[in-house]
Amino acid sequence: MSTVTLAGTTTLTRLALRRDRLMIPLWALVTGGLVASGAGSLEGLYGTAGERAEAAASMTANSSMRALYGPVFDDSLGGLVAWRFGTFATVLAAVASLIVVVRHTREEEETGRQEMLSAGAVGRRAPLTAALLAALVFNSAVALVVTAGLAGQGAAGALALGLAIGGTGMVFATTAALAAQLTESARLAKGLTGAAVGLAFVLRAAGDSGTAGDASQDGVLGGGSSVLTWLSPIGWAENVRAFAGERWWVLLLTAAAVLLQTAAAYALTGRRDVGAGFLATRPGPAEGGLATAGALAWRLQRGTLLGWSLGFLLGGLVFGGMAEGAADIVGDNEQARQVFERMGGQSALTDAFLATMVSLFGMVAALFAVGSVLRPHGEETSGRAEPLLANALGRIRWAAGHLLIAFGGSALILALSGTGLALSYGHDAGPVLGASLAQLPAVWALAGLAVLLWGTVPKAATAAWGAAGLCLALGWIGPALDLPQAALNLSPFGHLPKLPGPETTWTPVLALTALAAALVAAGLAGLRRRDMVS
């Protein structure tokens, strides 16, 4: 590779870091800080070595725990931190990495900004290199915060965990780089990479949950991981086994994946036109059948909804198959049992497993709903809404099409994940599907919040992502942190009844639905009154 193709990389990297000067440090601090502070919070929960050993044993025995967090490889404080926060932090790093890379590659080309940059003394491979360097800065920062924060628990383990999380972030950064070469649309590039992250998580969860916990196996707690886990980059991260006799060679897999994907992306970027992808554009119809704003909204969102539907159905099928083994063994540690119950379990562990999965689907569905609600916000800021609204089309009717897809679509994908769970679990189809749909009011409440923000303070509309992310964090890692109930109650998901289970309380379900309706109404009232953003 001649250096000419890299001309301008330094300047472009500085531009990328300047544009992300808030996002990269904040996201790195949150991701790294979460892990680093984990030691303190877990120490409060399991003070003595005996407590930790018991907790580790019973968590390992529980299949929903293994699915969510992976096996416990070591019952030291560091080992528990790696187990509890490793996967979550890895997913966070992966998502941030994919956003950073697509933002500085395909999005720049799609908006036409790259054209002006490339007209300068900028090499063909410089934009991609700059984007990957920006992602490297982010992932290095995460690794640094994790390593420094956990050094007290053992320097080698801290370093291994930091490298595992940051390295996996780079794997998905390079996946995004590859996707950005293939498609012409930044949205699709993010969608494809996001699907890859989701698939990696599901593979790891399925692999880990499938291996029954056996403390004697392999000389460590938690047994090994199955083949499925080894197919997933997120599975590699946990198999570095930070604080549990680090297996440094696993990082070679991560490095190889990064190098391979980088090479492929470089090869593609060297032989394509600026702005073009590898999937050719076909001509469209000379006359169109779109007659209403609703039809346009459907046309714009149907691809995304199809992707989410498939993902949720497949996810449901995979996790439903694991439910049977969930009740294998229960340790008799009282504290561990308390944690299970806070995680969403009633007495029966199968129910607890299903409830955990159903709630996970719910929290992820909120991401779909927020993205879908904010679609017209994107139409507005890109200037496409203005000529549309210059026609005989009221703002409410324009928004209604998108909101119908957001609210109806979240119902659809939850119904599909519920169907998937019920089908492959094979019993209790009704309760499982019902439990899945019972997540809807919380999803709708978050979607309603997005409508409110967009309708009244459009500048702050994207804060809805932050709210959905916070709820996901509270639901995923909150229960084990012994957070005060007030904090857990911030998330609408914290108010839902644990289903399937013996007790169904309708009050929170109805209250959240009413809240969602009120938020939507207030948001639409704001939309009617405010200036359109241009």
Partner: protein, 303 residues
């Protein structure tokens, strides 16, 4: 004659920026009205208020006799809008977008649509992302002129069009005027304005500084005069309305306010005229004067 648009004392602020500061605008039904001003003068903000996309802070706005904010949807059935920077959906073809806009407005004329696509040489099967800037403008222009509406609101509609297409656009405006339709045309292309604008309004810093027919506006500007005289000129410098006087021997060059031309000619003939060239003000000069005044004013304010 009824007013298609009447705006009086319109104010609009965005935070601390006063985009519109008491703007007035009156457009008669059936006229083509040029809407001019330097970049950032408030033209597009005014148009967005007229379209009900922005809410006026204060001032009276009436569009086709109704309130553009309250009655936006009803009014928009009678309006076609072309923005200066058209953004399309990347995966929708031009033809689909034209039909969507047409249906949302309440129907378009199929024959007219086909004719316009022909005249503008637009390929309606291409997807939004593959159109050039000029072709994206054409999509919006075809969508607008395929509907027979009462008012066309055109915000720098020809940016990116080639000269041939510019001509097609001009004939479309002409046809609209022949049908008695009203056109509000914001433009920087002065030949375009000169060709078919019945009246123009010039805005600056959110205010209307000049409004009237081109003849009326010309009257306010300067004529440049070059003359060769038989004897040395006398007393020219003291005449009212004379600017940039340059005397070199028997050769005289000067600028004079057009309404003060008479006295200057008298003074010149008194010295005996050998040759005389008098150039009427061009539209460029007219606008440059208005635009430059702003820079001068800024310069004074700054110093």
């Amino acid at each position: 004659m009824t007013k298609a648009i009447s705006i009086a004392g319109l104010h609009k602020s965005f935070g601390r920026t006063h985009a519109l500061d008491g703007l007035d605008l009156a457009v008669d039904t059936g006229e083509v009205h040029g809407f001019l001003g330097p970049n950032g003068a408030g033209k597009s903000t005014t148009i967005r208020v007229l379209l009900g996309l922005l809410r006026a802070d204060s001032g009276g706005v009436s569009l086709l006799g109704r309130d553009p904010w309250q009655d936006a949807v009803e009014l928009h059935r009678r309006i076609a809008y072309v923005p200066g920077d058209v953004t399309l959906w990347r995966n929708l073809s031009g033809g689909e977008v034209i039909d969507l806009y047409g249906r949302l407005r309440g129907g378009l004329d199929r024959a007219k649509r086909a004719e316009l696509i022909e005249r503008f040489e637009l390929d309606p099967t291409k997807k939004g992302r593959t159109y050039s800037k000029g072709n994206r403008q054409k999509v919006a222009l075809v969508a607008a002129f395929a509907s027979d509406v009462d008012l066309y609101v055109l915000d720098e509609p020809t940016s990116g069009l080639d000269p041939l297409m510019e001509e097609v656009f001009q004939s479309c405006v002409q046809e609209a005027r022949d049908r008695g339709r009203t056109v509000l045309l914001s433009s920087h292309i002065l030949s375009e304005v000169e060709t078919f604008c019945d009246r123009v309004s010039i805005v600056r810093k959110g205010r209307t500084v000049e409004s009237g027919s081109l003849t009326e506006l010309r009257h306010l500007t300067r004529t440049s005069v070059t003359a060769e005289l038989a004897a040395a000129p006398n007393g020219l410098a003291h005449l009212p309305g004379v600017h940039d006087l340059d005397v070199q021997g028997l050769r005289v060059r000067l600028q004079v306010d057009t309404d003060k031309l008479d006295a200057v000619l008298r003074a010149l003939t008194a010295s005996g005229v050998r040759s005389l060239t008098s150039t009427p003000p061009t539209l460029e000069e007219l606008f440059l004067r208005h635009y430059e005044d702003e820079h001068l004013a800024n310069g004074v304010a700054a110093s």
